[in-house]
């Protein structure tokens, strides 16, 4: 176990408290840099989605995890970022400019959404943000002169410094990774300065925050704006990755996926956004596996156990029918959320911390160590 002797206020301010952090994050970064050159293109593609989801996860953490304002409308913010991209591309606007525009416009809309949200709390805020998401979805479907309605819009390849950055190229992966890293660094900077502490103060006690001179309304709007802006940037990348966008891609289910990202990852730390994103993005390959390989494997196994050939085929068919049933993904999400809320409210990152502590303290670990801590989402302790 390592003991830190703090001799300077900077010891509490710096991002890497000791050399161990530099080594582990450095290794991680090196691995991420060589990843596109060693992994299959499918996995790199999944990594790009992890980066985008994690970026949205960080955005949602700022709003929900740190400011305590729940939101089920982040798919709409993502959509606004994506459509801004598609719309501006028609006028041959260069990438850096429409990328910034996507973030800024979404941020402004986020601030506007933040205003009515000032008077709402907990479950009512969730409902308000859901309605906002539906409104955006409808607008995207009907405002055909701008959004091309349900026909959707094509996204052209990024032109950067005179070269094409294809959506499957390592360069695009590095772009997404860079956006994620910058977002995380920005969020960490925010959290160690007055604004971030004001967010946390609002989450834990608005009354006390006010009595200490925090303009609660202003900071809530700021939190909405920052969260939306980051999601807007992610939306731009998301649109490029999909190369085609239409309103039905930005449904409530996507917002729920983002909530799952932070809920499963852990709502109290930015690590949660990344872990949660990996988890959510990897559910899809898992489902594909369920559909493609598992029925055969189970049928084969049944045959091994002595079932007749017809019986084995029957079993194989019923497993296949189950695995490709509609709504299986939703059901799996539901079960996962319930299990996490019940058994690991601190999320994957909380679990990781416990495992780490277990080995650090090896024979002396006590399960009660983490008993005091509660989950940070305020909607869960409604008055």
């Amino acid at each position: 176990m390592r003991f830190l002797f703090k001799t300077d206020y900077d010891d509490d301010i710096r991002l890497f408290p000791h050399s161990g952090y530099v080594i582990s994050y450095g290794t991680l970064f090196a691995l991420l840099v060589i990843a596109p050159f060693v992994l299959s293109s499918y996995l790199v593609s999944q990594l790009v989605f992890v980066c985008i989801y994690a970026t949205v996860g960080v955005a949602l953490l700022i709003l929900t995890g740190f400011t305590g304002q729940a939101s089920l409308g982040h798919a709409a913010f993502l959509a606004i970022g994506a459509y801004t991209t598609a719309y501006l591309q028609q006028f041959n606007v260069p990438f850096p400019i429409y990328f910034l525009a996507a973030g800024l416009l979404t941020g402004v809309i986020g601030a506007i959404v933040g205003f009515p949200a000032l008077r709402l709390q907990g479950i009512y805020l969730v409902i308000a943000t859901i309605s906002f998401a539906f409104i955006v979805e409808e607008i995207l479907a009907r405002w055909e002169s701008v959004t091309h309605g349900n026909e959707g819009m094509r996204i052209k390849t990024i032109q950067l410094f005179g070269t094409q950055v294809s959506r499957d190229s390592p360069a695009f992966y590095f772009l997404c990774l860079a956006v994620l890293v910058l977002t995380i660094v920005g969020a960490l900077n925010l959290l160690r300065s007055p604004t971030g502490r004001a967010f946390v103060a609002i989450r834990d006690s608005e009354t006390a925050a006010r009595s200490l001179g925090i303009n609660v309304a202003l900071y809530k709007v700021k939190s909405f704006a920052i969260s939306a802006a980051i999601t807007g940037f992610a939306g731009c990348l998301f649109a490029h990755k999909l190369s085609f966008i239409s309103p039905e891609m930005f449904t409530l289910q996507l917002s729920i996926e983002f909530i799952i990202v932070i809920l499963i990852g852990g709502t109290f730390s930015l690590h949660g956004a990344v872990l949660g994103a990996i988890f959510v993005v990897m559910i899809d390959p898992f489902l594909t596996y369920l559909k493609d390989d598992m029925p055969g494997a189970i049928g084969h196994f049944a045959a091994l156990l002595g079932a007749g050939a017809t019986r084995a085929t029957q079993i194989q068919d019923s497993v296949a029918a189950f695995a490709s049933a509609n709504g299986l993904k939703g059901a799996i999400y539901g079960i996962i959320i319930i299990l996490f809320v019940l058994f690991e409210p601190l999320g994957l990152y909380g679990r990781w911390l416990k495992i780490k502590l277990f080995f650090q303290l090896f024979p002396l670990y006590k399960r009660a160590t983490f008993k005091h801590q509660k989950i940070y989402v305020k909607s869960e302790r409604l008055r």
């Binding site: 509490d12 900077n189 160690r192 604004t195 971030g196 946390v200 834990d204 006690s205 609660v216 801590q373």
Partner: protein
Amino acid sequence: MSYFRAENLSLHFGGLKAVDAVSFAVEKGEILSIIGPNGAGKSSIFNLISRIYTPTSGKIFFEDRDITEEPAYGIARLGIARTFQNIELFENATVLNNLLVGRHRHSTTRLWQELLFLPSVRANEREHRRRVEQVIEFLDLEPYRDKLISGLPYGVRKVIELARALCAEPKLILLDEPSSGLNVEETDDMSFWIRDMKSELGITVVMVEHDMTLVSRVSDRVIALNYGRVLAMGAPAEVQRHPDVVAAYLGA
């Protein structure tokens, strides 16, 4: 002119007059205690001053400025800090972060500077931290710096709330029952700190308190309230002997 003044302050909830035409003044550098039975309107007065409630009528002046219309966060920026009867700490943050929030009214950095954590932000953070450290030393909170509030005992939380208010470097501090839930030793410490706040830090103190020993030990003046009205005002011993006050407490 008085340093702080409330004029005909009233707070009515429908027919209930929680605070009824209360006037009082606080001089710079004094310790004023507000006493009274439960439901007398003591905490309501604090909530009116810090603008958690809006007065039905009446005016509040601080440093010759009308602050009746000031928003809640504006009160703190003027230099009026407070603690709460039922501790309002930021449960899931560390003690250090709680105290640093107390410094909020002194932060001058802008959002974009904070996103980049420019040297100016870092310098500000160091300065905040230095001031917080002084308060930590003043109130002997060294062992708790990095602890989460949710794991701390009640008595310590009470002190941390006082510390957070002091971090704001207030000119006037409102203490809502500083000794409630504290044991005898802790109450003793509290009374020393309240006096030191006045003598060393030059802070004017207004407190609501039930513990008469503490009240008579630290206060310069006492106001007794009942049913939202002022019963008596004056030196601690005088007020405690005042027939109306005795009647209010003993129900004669």
